[in-house]
């Protein structure tokens, strides 16, 4: 049973796309203001886990609870209104909307006003009338995060937010996520770079073939990374045997 203070709970969730099952009996819980790292190599189901929380996959079994609401059959837009902000790996910036329109299109009343978001990302303030495709990769990622924050989320799902970004932008985003967390927003961070993710989170899980194979406090894994390294190595062996087979 989910604890009363939990913002998000997954109980033995099996999910995928159509008849294809990707996540296999995944369970996790996340308290308000907490941060969870989801680790694993490419293709282990990290994005599917994020999309399952956001309501973009087909649930085959188990239970998803957001706040005190059973969200398993809830469409994505209702979950967003319950406070789930999802920053997808591909950023999914709208080519025909300006920066300002991106921040307005799903905006809800709350602390993350357009001006507050421009304070958080001054680079975007200077480009407020530019279209999505006129931005650099780093700016697009900032915009994707700002757009999700404009929903006034209680939970931010970040799917590999640092992928392909310059170190300076990564640094900016790490600071921003820290600031966002301090406002009480919970974070689920899917990331391949374990060290970076562990430094930003309280707890971590590792996935192999859609199953949770490791669960530990992030600090513990930073200090004693052997179990995580073993999991990732196992995974590499699994993947190479798959490719041989």
């Amino acid at each position: 049973m989910p604890a009363m203070s939990d913002l998000l709970t997954l109980e033995r969730v099996t999910a995928g796309y159509g008849a294809t099952v990707i996540l296999d009996e995944v369970s996790l819980s996340l308290g308000r203001g907490a941060a969870l790292a989801v680790l694993g190599r490419n293709g282990v189901g990290k994005t599917t886990l994020m999309r399952t929380i956001a309501g973009q996959t087909d649930l085959h079994g188990g239970r998803v609870t957001i706040g005190d609401r059973d969200a398993g059959r809830m469409p994505a837009w209702m979950r967003a209104r319950l406070g789930v902000g999802y920053v997808p790996q591909e950023r999914e910036i709208f080519p025909s909307l300006t920066v300002l329109e991106h921040l307005d299109v799903g905006a809800r009343a709350g602390a993350w006003t357009t001006e507050a978001l421009f304070e958080l990302f001054p680079a975007l303030a200077n480009r407020r009338r530019h279209f999505g495709t006129q931005l650099s990769g780093g700016e697009q990622q900032m915009l994707a995060v700002a757009r999700a924050l404009a929903l006034q989320p209680a939970l931010l799902l970040l799917d590999e937010p640092f992928e392909g970004l310059a170190p300076a932008v990564v640094h900016t985003l790490v600071d921003v996520f820290g600031a966002v967390r301090r406002t009480g927003v919970s974070i689920v961070l899917a990331e391949q770079h374990a060290r970076l993710a562990l430094g930003m989170t309280d707890e971590a899980i590792a996935l192999v073939r859609g199953r949770v194979v490791l669960r530990a406090p992030s600090r513990e894994l930073l200090e004693r990374p052997a179990p995580l390294e073993e999991v990732l190595a196992v995974q590499q062996r699994v993947q190479s045997s798959d490719s041989r087979g």
């Binding site: 956001a54 309501g55 973009q56 469409p75 994505a76 837009w77 967003a80 209104r81 999802y86 997808p88 999914e92 709208f94 080519p95 025909s96 909307l97 329109e101 307005d104 299109v105 799903g106 905006a107 809800r108 009338r129 757009r147 929903l151």
Partner: protein, 315 residues
């Protein structure tokens, strides 16, 4: 933003100046205003929502028949007839939208075609009320606002159609500039992302569908009132295609596409039908091909590209 405001003003000024510029073509002007309104209403679906449909004539025809029947059987007041035409088309939009908007792309096109055929056949079969294949006759409109009788010069008809179009444009403009309009563009570009941003995509599209249908119905009602006749081909697949061609010609999703596409189409149609009556459709086809290759975003995009080039040369 400043350019957009100036162009909006230019559109409205153009509508107001037309009677001075072409006093002998007010009938043609009224016809163009009606087609602009119809193409603009389709733009909301095609250009902004990204829904390709070949069923728009169903809403235009529903508005025309409703206003025509209302004039014959209830009241010949033009403004009341407009409201009735718009409401009838909106109702049809509401009912058909529930079914049509479950699908996209080819299936949506097929279902929209089916809608036109069903409405057309209903109008044909229900001859006692609609006039069937002979068309709805016997419409005699009262003077506009009780004072301005529809005259042979077409002046009242033009002012009536152009004023309705101007109001509709102001509404269309505020709609596409609003958060609602932005969300339609978002849905067109990435439906799943809009879901994830808390937008109930289905309900949003149904609302846009009803608004678009209502505007097309108003255009149909205008046509019925101005010509005092409703032909069965007001609800035809052919007319649906023509509206779509006008919009593509002008540029879909570009705010002014209907204002360029519909007049150019009507002008070309009139000119070519006179000069080469046997082959005028061939010329229209060639013109469309030229537009697709030379200005893929339609005439609006072509004009914008030329304006950018001139501005670039100046600076």
């Amino acid at each position: 933003m400043r350019t957009t405001r100036a162009l909006d003003g230019l559109v409205l000024a153009g509508l107001a100046a037309f009677p001075m510029l072409a006093p002998g073509s007010l009938d043609l002007g009224a016809r163009m205003a009606i087609l602009v309104l119809c193409a603009m209403s389709l733009d909301l679906l095609v250009g902004y929502c990204g829904l390709i449909t070949l069923g728009h004539a169903a809403f235009f025809g529903a508005g025309a028949y409703a206003a025509g029947i209302f004039a014959v059987r209830a009241s010949a007041d033009p403004v009341a007839g407009l409201v009735v035409g718009g409401a009838a088309a909106a109702l049809l939009g509401l009912l058909s939208g529930v079914v049509l908007l479950r699908s996209r792309r080819l299936t949506l096109i097929m279902l929209s075609l089916a809608t036109v055929l069903i409405v057309q056949e209903a109008a044909n079969r229900w001859g006692g009320v609609t006039g069937g294949a002979d068309g709805l006759q016997g419409i005699a409109m009262s003077p506009l606002l009780g004072r301005f009788a529809f005259d042979l010069s077409g002046r009242v008809a033009y002012v009536y159609a152009a004023t309705t179009l101007a109001f509709a444009f102001l509404m269309f403009r505020s709609l596409v500039d609003s958060r609602f309009g932005q969300s339609l563009v978002g849905i067109r570009e990435n439906e799943a992302r809009m879901h994830a941003l808390g937008t109930p995509v289905g309900a949003r599209l149904r609302t846009a569908f009803v608004i678009s249908a209502a505007l097309a119905g108003v255009a149909g009602a205008l046509q019925a009132q101005v010509t005092e006749f409703v032909a069965l081909n007001a609800v035809s697949v052919e007319f649906s295609g023509e509206i779509l061609i006008m919009l593509i010609l002008g540029g879909a999703g570009r705010r002014y596409g209907a204002f360029l596409g519909a007049p150019v189409y009507v002008f070309m149609q009139d000119y070519l039908a006179r000069e080469d009556p046997a082959n005028w459709y061939l010329w229209i086809g060639l013109m469309l091909l030229a537009i697709v290759f030379l200005a893929p975003g339609g005439l609006t995009a072509g004009v914008a590209a030329i304006a950018r080039r001139i501005r670039g040369r100046r600076s």
